[in-house]
Amino acid sequence: MESALRPNRPQSVERSEGPFCHLPDSALRDFELLKTSALYRRGTNLFREGQAAQQIFIVDQGRVRLSVSAESGKSMTLRIAQSGEILGLSAALAGTPHEMTAELLEDAEVATIQRKDLLCFLHEHRDACLQVVNLLSQDLHMAYDRVRCIGLTRSRRPRSLGVH
């Protein structure tokens, strides 16, 4: 991951609209303690396709372009992730390389959690593990929507579907 503009600042425990906002207080507190937050500039790649997944990322405010690329260098946008989404989750859980590249579309505050800390947290908090399963299911729904869109509407020549 590219370097932050302004590293590390203590996270306050807030029950906002985050992915684990429905967890019990104790679990939410434990989750917040795992986060390390920093400010990143627009254009920063939080992670790259094929890179080992060492962390997950939660963008506090700002949008992220998620894309895949071919060996030729051509890339295609999968979708635009919104504030509060957890990024890199499936790769971090599975211990596989990231399936896509995540690029910040604006300056943003980004919290990171190390993979090993996340796994320990999920083992200790069953509710959180269930919530992660829910989040992954939603990610998969979106991915299949994209497959449907691309696979069933392609003409002979590729259309401009965010292909660069």
Binding site: L122, Q138, I150
Partner: protein, 239 residues
């Protein structure tokens, strides 16, 4: 016990010989016993539809034996086969967890044994067994990885030839064939089904196979395809 479809049905997960080789099935004893209590073992012939895209999720289907074709359909009837599920996979998982409709249609391509678990039972099972919850998370991650791979393949490949070459290389990397000089691929799908996998027509797939055979890049022996020139196939895949 043999089913009407020639399958040797495994009635109990506790006695299944292949259980430990499969990610979801390799559960700790307590979780496995709980799962045993909530699952229903069934046998299906080839061509049976387990669930349909858009249907409300009834539950999950753990594929024990056989293979299942997972596809998406457009309103004009055009079909895209997303993948062929293998034994050990849990089908209908994300829909069952999220409560959203099944995203794909699941149709058996072989006689299959399937363990069905009702949605409410499965969600309760996940709440009670964090190990199982983790296995589910891992399966979902694997499916997500595969879906991204599919998007990359469909969206960034120039031609049907490129997509077919990628598909053959992907198939040839399984079942211990990856390191062989001339890997073999068991083709269990028709040209029409292969066309549905790569988003093209049956005629194009037939023509592409004929081209590959003419250039001696591949060779057919019954339903087995031998990749004679892996380097050439990789070249086509990356064009």
């Amino acid at each position: 016990m043999l089913s009407p479809y020639g399958l040797d049905i495994v009635e109990s997960c506790l006695t299944c010989k292949t259980r430990t080789e499969r990610l979801f099935c390799n559960l700790p004893a307590a979780a496995l016993q709980s799962f045993e209590n909530i699952k229903f073992a069934s046998a299906y012939p080839k061509g049976a539809v387990l669930f349909v895209e858009g249907q409300s999720p009834r539950g999950i289907f753990v594929l024990c034996k056989g293979r299942v074709k997972m596809s998406i359909c457009a309103t004009n009837g055009k079909t895209l086969i997303v993948k062929i599920a293998e034994p050990g996979e849990v089908l209908g998982l994300s829909a069952t967890v999220s409560g959203k409709p099944y995203e794909l249609t699941a149709e058996t391509v072989d006689p299959c044994q399937v363990n069905f678990v009702k949605r409410e039972d499965f969600l309760r099972f996940l709440k009670e067994h964090s190990d199982a919850c983790f296995r589910v998370a891992e399966q979902l991650s694997a499916k997500y990885n595969m879906a991204c791979h599919e998007v990359r393949s469909l969206g960034l490949s120039h031609s049907a030839g490129e997509k077919l070459a990628k598909l053959l290389l992907d198939w040839s990397s399984r079942n211990g064939e990856a390191t062989k000089q001339e890997p073999r691929v068991k083709i269990a799908l028709t040209h029409e089904e292969i066309a549905q996998m790569i988003g093209t027509s049956r005629e194009t797939v037939t023509r592409l196979f004929a081209d590959l055979k003419k250039k001696q890049i591949v060779q057919s022996r019954g339903s087995t395809l031998i990749i004679r020139n892996k380097a050439a196939l990789k070249q086509i895949a990356s064009d």
